[in-house]
Amino acid sequence: MSFKKDEETGLGAYYNNKTTVLQEARVFNESPISPRKCRALLTRIVYLLYLGETLGTQEATTLFFSTTKLFQHKDAALRQMLYLAIKELSGVAEDVIMVTSSIMKDMQPNSEVIYRPNAIRALCRITDASMMQGLERFFKTAIVDRNASISSAALVSSYHLYPAAKDVIKRWVNEAQEAINAKTSGSLFGVSSGSGGGFLGYGNQQQQDKFQPPPSTSYITQYHALGLLYYIRQQDRMAITRMVQQLGGKPGSSGTLKSPLAICMLIRYASKIMEEDPNMQRQMFELLEGWLRHKSDMVNYEAARAICEMRNVAPQQLTRPVSVLQVFLSSSKPTLKFAAIRTLSSLALTHPASVATCNVDMENLITDSNRSIATYAITTLLKTGNEASVDRLMKQISGFMTEISDEFKVIVVDAIRSLCLKFPAKQASMLSFLSGVLRDEGGYDFKRAVVEAIFDMIKFIQDCKETALAHLCEFIEDCEFTKLSVRILHLLGIEGPKTPQPTKYIRYIYNRVVLENAIVRAAAVSSLAKFGALVNDLAVKKSIGVLLRRCLDDVDDEVRDRAALYLHTIDDAPLAETYVKDDTVFSLGALETQLVAYVNDPDASDEPFDVSSIPTVSREQAFQETARPSSLDTIAQPAARAAAGPAPVGPTAAQTKSAYAEQLAAVPEFAEYGTVLNSSSKPQALTESETEYVVTVVKHIFKEYVVFQFNVSNTLPDTVLEQVSALMIPNSEGLTENFIIPIPALTPATSPGTIYVSFSRDSPEEYALGSFQTSLKYVSKEVDPTTGEPEEEGYEDDYQVEEVEVGAADYIVPNYVNFSQEWERLGHGATATETFSLSALDSLKAACDSLIEVLNMEPLGGTEIPTSNSVHALTLSGLVTGGGGKVLARSRMTYSAGQGVTLELSVRAEKEAACQLVISAIGD
């Protein structure tokens, strides 16, 4: 693509292709060397690379070595370009280390040439760790050179080299420290070279030996030196803290650092210290507050942002940073406005009240010419707004809705969607806004956002249901998106029958059957059937029957099939119950895991897939599991967290389980154990979270084994734990230990590590329960902070953690069913009833919570929240793993102040063992 420009501009000289440039490299061999020609060719080589051309290793190496001939010529202009070329070619060419000695000549102290910094920076590209020892002296002198450019070049090069040569560069702390404190060359040369035109006066540089550096006003060397010091010391929290204290100075005073960039780095180090060391919080916070008054915007902003992103920041701590940001909002510079609004927007997620003081300024930004600023302004305002300002805001938004892109419209609609839920009283104006934009032109993503917003309103705001459904009906009359039509028809089928006048929707739906494509027709048929099954009006049932019968002649198979099925079922109450009204659905995550296991296991294909072992969930739960966070929440996430951190919503139970299954599959020892029947839904902590070793346990149940997975974190810096294993002493029979997979070595950097302890179930058909005394055994070794190597000698130690229990909950997974139906069906199966008195519990709510936790069963019909505080009935449902079948429990309980909770637990299950399992879980 670069060659096209060639013809356009006629600047042929620079747009030659690679081949021409390579051929012209002859010019380097000419004698005498022409500095001007060579510099022009070097420029073209570098420029080729900057345009995206790639050189082969051979080509680059040849080119590299032909350029090195130019070291013979002393011209400064040529030499500087030569170093740039060396720097760029060194990434591709081989054996670049050969030119080290040529470069070293230019690095000599006291050589006052313009290209000495270039030489230093080129050297760090071609050298490696083995050479560092020899270069140490040069670097050390260069770092403390009084010329800022030389010092910066040396510091930056050391920074680049640090990962390759930690041991050598570590010793340069004193030099780096001196570079921070030294007066920059600006003050030394300020007077002497102040005569104008010096910056560009290449004429003055005729005598290249006496190159005078131009004065720098940026003090940037401090930034480089500070960066290097932090890099060297980053493992040593105390040293960093001292450094921040020392350089931060007293609150209010300006301190040693003059470079705003350096102060920004210091602020970041300070907030990292605050996060890690609660004792330092006060002092560091005072420093941050001092920087809010610094004369540089960059520093003010960095400090304000650091405070806003502090964990557990108190509202009164936010007033000052927010007012700093508020001033930025009315700046004329887009970058300042952008920075401020971005920070406020993420702060509004957690502290809307603190941000609300900026509302007026933010309203002015809604029409900002930078769309990103406007978007942030709107989304922030919608979070901080109060009920009174909503109408005004809506008016402003509808004013520019037609001028903006679809992408931006989606963001606005999402923001309004969350606003509707926040201020239900304003639903009328918002609904009319949404239905208005639904009629506008727009692509699929935009329309989908609007439709989903209306769906949410229907779901959460009762008052608007009928109006909203009417708007949707109108929309499908003229909707070009099949997917949206189908979703709306489905929703009409669910919500329509519950409204006072279901008949008015039937007309809209039947219109679809007449006018639309096959996919929409099929959805319309299902929707009609729901009306037939759910509306208790014989006239309606009859007309639905007539309409469905007409569909039997449809040209499409699916439409005909559905019509036939529904015609058959709607008259028969029990059938209609399962096929039309059915509100349970398989837990898709679990279904997927089981199916994958089934497909992967060659032996399993002898038997059909057992669907009964898949837990079912209600539609509500399925919806919640799949519910995505609205894009509003994601866009406003603090960018740093969004980039690195976990997804905003925790993974669902099913996802965690499949993740565990994958982890286990990676351990060869467990290959023959078969599939995991159940894993604890979340890790159980065995230590306090702030102890030196943090241990959690996850239990995995296999058909014939139980595997305990211990996640161990070593939080002690400078120690390494070797051969970490977990010793478990069971206090009951039924489980026999097989083997332990220990962690070979555990440092804070490699934490958490995983220990697996495997037990066999002596008789797999029984559900073995019990508790285990557990302790960690390991060899502890100190790490030498200077070398990073552990010492030879360690000492053996053990560390007692809390007991691990295997209870009924580990064998049961929650399962959603229709309780009354199932309860009756299981009436003939295994049953058990027992009465318990739980005097320790002080309310029915506590009893419900602990029952659900102990049994790990699904509470049904909202019975987990007692309505009365004296009598309550809790209904639970679960699935016992390993083909144990369904189990249901009904617990009637009473509470009186003196005796605590008394409960009568009736259990019905498909198998006797399951019944016993549940009863025994409470008995203990």
Binding site: T43, G52, D75, Y223, P260, C264, M265, Y301, N370
Partner: protein
């Protein structure tokens, strides 16, 4: 998490007003990175796709800053060119913008206030060296435009320094001798 390393510029771009690449330098630390940066664009196809999308978003002047495709981008229009500095999204906007400003002002000094495509292509050596003095593989090297511009050397005309020493004089003498010999032999 804030960026604790000095690597704060991910790439420098200069595009023309049709979205064509005038200059593009994507940085990566020469000896491995201390912290993994978000995402790297290291092949030409990805880079071009990214630049095209970015250009579509920024071709209108006056925005100055945008979050685009996991990069924080500050940019600046000048006649028929657009200058971009790309950074990781968590970077301080003002810091990146200071870097861009320094590079831009230095370019202005170097090109004598006519920062446009033609002049830039005619003086590429100055622009490339100017960039090299502003950013070194992702680390901002200098933010004072006068210092940056002052550190860029300009080429001298070849003719100014004729070296006179024994060798060159001998060479000249030999040339003259050969010439004379040839003419004499031709005349004979």
């Amino acid at each position: 998490m804030a960026n604790l390393s000095l690597y704060c510029v991910s790439a420098t771009l200069i595009l023309d007003t049709d979205g064509n690449r005038i200059l593009a330098k994507y940085y990566k630390p020469p000896h491995g990175s201390p912290a993994n940066s978000t995402r790297t664009l290291h092949n030409l196809k990805e880079q071009r796709a990214f630049e095209k999308g970015l250009f579509d978003k920024t071709k209108k002047a006056g925005g100055d800053v945008i979050l685009y495709d996991t990069y924080l981008v500050t940019y600046r229009h000048s006649l028929d060119l657009i200058f971009y500095f790309l950074a990781p999204p968590s970077e301080n906007e003002l810091m990146v913008s200071a870097g861009l400003q320094a590079f831009f002002d230095a370019t202005q000094l170097l090109l004598r206030h006519s920062v446009e495509k033609r002049t830039m292509l005619e003086n590429l050596d100055l622009v490339l060296l100017g960039l090299d003095e502003t950013v070194d593989d992702g680390i901002i090297l200098e933010t004072d435009p006068a210092t940056i511009a002052g550190r860029v050397s300009r080429p001298k005309a070849d003719t100014t320094d004729i070296v006179l020493n024994e060798q060159t004089l001998l060479y000249a003498y030999n040339r003259v001798k050969e010439g004379v010999q040839q003419r004499i032999s031709a005349a004979l």
